[in-house]
């Protein structure tokens, strides 16, 4: 059983991303959406947590664009997906857990 985790809070505002990355297992996916996408920027305090994560890490491209974050600012190892990719991730994992 694998889980898709969604995180919608900035890691500079709340600890959800850190907790989520620590809880997520191998085979899981962590998708940053809404203000959560600030966590995907390379070279920040969140970057280390992301590179240590066992789960695959993804970010929603539309929410990056809405915040003026260019895709070349996204840290290595993070995959940028669209809403169609969000749907695919939800189907590929057996449950979706929203970190609200």
């Amino acid at each position: 059983m694998s889980i898709l985790h969604t995180v919608n809070k900035s890691p500079f505002q709340k600890d959800d991303l850190k907790s989520c990355l620590a809880h997520a297992n191998e085979g899981d996916a962590v998708l940053m959406i809404e203000d959560g996408v600030y966590g995907a920027i390379a070279g920040t305090a969140a970057s280390q947590d992301i590179s240590n994560a066992k789960a695959g890490v993804y970010v929603l491209g539309a929410d990056l664009a809405a915040r003026g974050i260019a895709q070349d600012k996204v840290a290595e190892g993070i995959s940028v997906v669209g809403y169609d990719g969000f749907v695919d991730l939800a189907t590929e994992h057996s449950a979706v857990n929203s970190w609200l």
């Binding site: 919608n8 669209g82 809403y83 169609d84 749907v87 939800a90 189907t91 449950a95 979706v96 929203s98």
Partner: protein
């Protein structure tokens, strides 16, 4: 695959209703089925027809109504959350002695059991909120 969608946040607050709408649209475009969209807590405010956003802004309620019409979606507003926030259909307005109702086209008011049922009927339940 069957998806249930839960919206726990009102429109124009952060982004939950927009995200849920975009997710629902993308799932439908991929040929998936949406068993129900359940509006809970402040999410019930998505279901009032009296909102008048500026013309150059998106109309979140209308977007849901139109998507619902196009795909025959079951848009359910939680009754207890709705009563607390003044979201009423004709029957509820009458029952509570109110002089008006405001439920938007395509939405219906029902109980929390509909959320449980959506969870049972769906392969995935995806929650959007704050």
């Amino acid at each position: 695959m069957k998806f249930g969608v839960v919206v726990n946040e009102g429109p124009y607050t952060h982004q939950a209703s927009d995200s849920a709408y975009q997710f629902t649209k993308a799932a439908l475009a991929k040929g998936h089925e949406i068993t129900r969209v359940f509006f809970y807590h402040d999410g019930v405010n998505n279901g009032t027809r009296l909102t008048v956003p500026p013309q150059d802004d998106r109309n979140i309620q209308k977007n849901w109504t139109e998507l619902g019409k196009e795909h025959d979606l079951d848009l359910v507003v939680c009754i207890a959350a709705a009563q607390r926030r003044g979201i009423l259909d004709e029957n509820e307005a009458k029952r509570q002695g109110k002089d008006a109702d405001n439920i938007a086209e395509g939405f219906r008011i029902s109980g929390l059991g509909q959320l449980i049922e959506a969870g049972i009927m769906s392969d995935r339940l995806v929650t959007f909120g704050d």
